[in-house]
């Protein structure tokens, strides 16, 4: 039992359901939803099925590797299906069975948990999936993005890989998990957690981060003007990551926070709107 087995099982399961297996995106993101394979592809009218592992960074969640549950980087398994198959809930339940969970012995609940990202005019309706009280998945039917009704309606399924693996291995500490038979989560990630916590909380250079934020924001605006939406979106993701770092440094005043979030939102919604306009023009 290991995380890599879990990933392989999920890859096999979703590939068999017609998903293309994307590779992880090569920029820092806060969640699987933020990569272009989701952000752009849910906006247009074409069918789309994709599944991928996405490392997700949330600098403020760092605990120097000392907390058994919280880490500043974790791994999500992201699935998008558009349109959502009508039996998607049963398919999802089958995916759990495919991981070796005997569902007859457990309590699986779909608990109301709607998703909203006002920054890009996006929202969805869905649940957090609880397995014996443990939140293992976010399950969302996207409804709008860029303030526009999405059609057909995509479904997003995001598994928290560490959570799921802790359940499967019956362990109480994330660092005790097996990544493979020979390599543990501790081996792979402990030093990374400690060093990045140190960087995120103490050493990240505030001046340079603020400058980088502004430079990337400017670059994004130029690229939007030139209709280079994918590169513009990359710049937008970088801004978002710099913002998160500044946040974990406690270096953002309240007014700055409002302003910076508005700047990122502005970029994302302009990109989404332009993308939709481009995709819907003949």
């Amino acid at each position: 039992m290991s995380i890599q087995n879990l990933i392989m099982d999920l890859q096999k399961f979703w590939a068999e359901r017609g998903c293309y297996l994307a590779q992880s995106y090569d920029l820092e993101v806060g969640a699987g939803t933020m990569t272009p394979d989701t952000f752009f592809r849910v906006l247009d009218k074409r069918p789309w099925k994709v599944a991928y592992v996405q490392p997700s960074r949330r600098p403020t969640d760092g605990r120097y590797g000392e907390n058994p549950h919280r880490v500043q980087k974790h791994f999500q398994y992201q699935v998008i299906m558009k349109p959502a198959p009508s039996d998607i809930q049963q398919i999802y339940i089958k995916s759990l069975a495919a991981l070796g969970i005997n569902l007859q012995d457990h309590d699986i609940r779909f608990d109301e948990d709607d998703w909203e990202a006002p920054s890009i005019g996006a929202w969805g309706v869905g649940w957090q999936v609880l397995l014996d009280g443990l939140e293992i998945t976010q399950f969302t039917y996207f409804q709008q993005a860029g303030g526009i009704d999405l059609f057909p309606v995509p479904v997003e399924i995001t598994y928290g890989l560490e959570r799921l693996e802790m359940f499967l291995e019956g362990k109480d500490n994330i660092f005790d998990l097996n990544w493979s038979e020979d390599v543990s989560y501790q081996d792979l990630r402990f030093i990374e957690e400690r060093e990045f916590s140190e960087y995120n909380f103490s050493l990240a250079n505030v001046r340079r981060l603020k400058d980088s934020f502004l430079l990337n924001e400017k670059e994004a605006r130029l690229l939007i003007d030139k209709d280079l939406l994918l590169p513009a979106y990359d710049m937008c993701l970088k801004c978002s990551h710099f913002f998160n770092l500044l946040d974990s440094r406690g270096a953002i005043s309240v007014t700055e926070r409002v302003k910076m979030i508005a700047q990122i939102r502005n970029l994302a919604s302009q990109i989404a709107e332009k993308y939709i306009a481009r995709e819907s023009s003949p």
Partner: protein, 692 residues
């Protein structure tokens, strides 16, 4: 004949299920009656995954007489009494002889036409026709689309079962064709199974681990909980909302009893129960008001034979409690006083400054309030409480469990040995969060609660935020209702207008809107909230109008006024007084104000009325200021005979202008006195419309 409808969906939130069941029952009643289909009882059942309607409907519509309208009478019948070609044509088109046409009176005039008995259609046909509309007209607090359709519902519909007289009805809605099969529990029995009757449906589902009747599920939970608790000799930390949600969250309730390590018992009950409720929806168990190291959970399962559900929940809970304990200890390393220095860094609202600003305002407002209600002993303590009230927003515990704000501040203040009236005030100052919640038990808490809520309302209104329709993102309605509830329950007598002046003054230049505008908006807003509260308590709307329209400066007195009116509304003197008040009002309509000149009171009846009025006035003014409106009301009844005699014998609108003005002045004085108790002209008496 038996009718069954089951709409099977993915998991709906409990509130959605409940509103849908109410709407379904109403819509079926409405539609069946407008379709002329007789019916017996209609029952509704629901879980998070299904909405069920069961009824007994007639096999067909009642036969009914139908009018078919042809040409207007004067077009159809010529002056000589013969039928025109228009009438001939109409009769032919209806397959009758022209002599069979009748004159039918309609709102538009007289027409030629005929009456036919129309045979009722089979109910099955009618139902198939109206069911898609009924289902698609259900509305939910938030609706969604799915797949490739623009159809909206609470959550995706997966299956529809619809039987009438043991046969399936054919229709489709939301892309789903109705059929005669249902599905069981999503894990154990996800495949379709056919059924023929409600009895069979219910039994089949029971076997497939679904209990459709919410009351039955509630009983199952309560019974299982009772059995588990009996062995512990303990009770549930009561949480009706949690139980209510769980009743709908599961299709087959199985209660599990789990435990957690005793080291977490150091945490206060409030923190423990919140950590258990939020996320896992677990109940805390208490004995003698102390938390025991156990919890109860409700699983959607029929057994936990391997104890995996229990163990899983225990593991998750332990992690949550671990976090909570870490935060609880971390927070206490810095005293509230030191933490308070960070308040200026958290923004309340961009235009209104920080929580430090709010704290300073609250200190001024509570100090004013304490003076006004003569809470001398409590004054210093409530000021101290105001100073601490918002500090817990800087704690880790509140960041983790926002619903604990206030409570946590109070608990930390208690740990730091602040006086009881200080920490209780902090603890309770967000109460009541709704009209069903309890008001603060301490006077200091009540004062702080009023100050905090009014500060929020004035701040929002003063920066241009108002409440429209169903949108109230800042919870202004809830806050205003909370203030009224506290004032009434605490029997606080104070001038609401001056309190508002004070709060507006405390804000100073921060408010962008003109002060008078803020005040008049708030006054209107509070009048409406007060009306809402009174309506909710079941008072008659016209009595409420009669009360609220005389002003709400003293909110507690408004309540007493209403109670007095309500208790005397059956008195034989009540209606005559209303009639008199209305009569006085009508005479005074559009008249300028005049002054009484006693010397001009000529007639015996007007002198007598003046005397009666003066005596009544002297008697009731002290009662009114005491708030004894029942007694004041009873004394006012005594004006009746004098005023009747006055009207019978004295001509008010006499041509003699000085006399006329003097009599009007007398009536004006009486009207002015009456309105100190209530605006009687707003009260409706049978057979009369409200004079608005």
């Amino acid at each position: 004949m038996e009718f069954i409808l089951e709409i099977n969906t993915e998991e709906m939130p409990p509130a959605h299920v409940k509103t849908a069941l109410v709407q379904l029952e109403e819509k079926f009643k409405e539609e069946l009656s407008s379709q002329n289909i007789d019916r017996g009882q209609i029952e509704t059942y629901g879980t998070c995954r299904r909405l069920v309607v069961v009824g007994d409907f007639a096999l067909s519509q009642k036969d009914r007489e139908k009018e078919i309208i042809g040409p207007p009478k004067d077009v159809g019948i010529r002056e000589d009494g013969t039928f025109s070609s228009a009438a001939q044509g109409f009769a032919k088109s209806q397959g009758v002889r022209v002599s069979e046409l009748k004159v039918i009176k309609t709102a538009k005039g007289e027409y030629l036409g005929l009456r036919k008995m129309e045979k009722g259609k089979p109910s099955a046909d009618v139902l198939s026709e109206i069911l898609p509309q009924i289902v698609s007209s259900l509305s939910f607090p938030k609706m969604m689309r799915w797949g490739e359709s623009s159809f909206r519902f609470s959550r995706p519909i997966k299956n529809i079962l619809c039987l009438f007289d043991r046969k399936k009805l054919s229709f489709s809605v939301g892309g789903i064709h109705a059929g005669n099969s249902t599905v069981g529990h999503k894990i154990y029995f996800p495949n379709k199974t056919k059924v023929k009757s409600f009895r069979e449906y219910k039994e089949t589902l029971r076997k497939m681990k679904v209990v459709i009747d919410q009351e039955e599920r509630r009983k199952m939970i309560v019974n299982q909980v009772g059995r588990k608790l009996a062995s512990l000799k303990a009770t549930l930390h009561p949480d009706e909302d949690l139980l209510e949600g769980l009743v709908y969250d599961v299709e087959y309730p199985h209660v599990i009893l789990g435990s957690f390590p005793e080291e977490y018992l150091d945490l206060p009950l409030e923190v423990l129960s919140t950590a258990m409720r939020e996320g896992q929806k677990l109940f805390s168990i208490v004995k003698d008001k102390k938390q025991l190291p156990f919890f109860l959970g409700v699983a959607d399962a029929y057994q936990d034979s391997k104890s995996l559900i229990r163990k899983g929940n225990e593991r998750v809970l332990k992690a949550r409690l671990d976090d909570a304990k870490f935060f609880w200890e971390q927070d206490r390393k810095i005293t509230l006083k030191d933490k308070a220095k960070g308040l200026d860094k958290i923004v309340l609202q961009e235009k209104l400054g920080s929580y430090e600003d709010k704290t300073q305002r609250l200190k001024k407002t509570v100090s004013y309030l304490a003076d006004k209600i003569e809470a001398k002993k409590e004054k210093q303590q409530v000021i101290q409480a105001a100073e601490l009230s918002k500090v817990d927003l800087l704690t880790e515990i509140v960041r983790e469990f926002p619903s604990l704000q206030g409570n946590v501040g109070g608990l930390y203040a208690r740990e730091e040995k602040y006086p009881v009236l200080v920490w209780k005030a902090v603890y309770e100052h967000y109460q009541p969060v709704s009209l069903d919640d309890e008001s603060p038990a301490s006077l200091t808490g009540a004062i702080l609660s009023i100050a905090d809520k009014l500060d929020s309302i004035v701040g929002a209104v003063g920066t241009g935020i108002t409440v429209t329709g169903s949108s109230d993102p800042f919870g202004l309605r809830r806050n205003a209702q909370g203030i009224c509830k506290v004032i009434i329950e605490r029997k606080l007598c104070l001038s609401f207008l001056r309190l508002m002046d004070k709060v507006i003054a405390v804000y100073g230049e921060k408010l962008q809107e003109p002060k008078e505008k803020v005040k008049s908006y708030c006054l209107d807003f509070f009048s409406n909230r007060l009306r809402y509260i009174f309506e909710r308590q079941g008072y008659r709307y016209d009595l409420i109008n009669a009360t609220v329209s005389v002003g709400i400066d003293n909110i507690y007195h408004s309540y007493l006024r209403l109670k007095a009116l309500d208790s005397l509304k059956e008195s034989p003197s009540f209606e005559p007084l209303i009639i008199i008040a209305k009569r006085v009002n009508n005479i005074l309509k559009d008249q300028p104000l005049f002054k009484i000149n006693q010397a001009l009171l000529a007639e015996k009846e007007e002198r007598e009325l003046y005397t009666t009025f003066s005596i009544i006035k002297n008697n009731i003014l002290p009662l009114i200021s005491k708030g004894d409106f029942s007694q004041a009301q009873r004394i006012i009844f005594r004006i009746r005979s004098s005023i009747n005699k006055f009207f019978d014998n004295v001509l008010v609108m006499t041509d003699e202008i000085r006399m006329r003005r003097n009599r009007l002045a007398l009536l004006q004085a009486i009207s002015k006195l009456l309105i100190q108790v209530a605006d009687y002209s707003q009260i409706v008496i049978e057979g009369q419309n409200s004079s608005k």
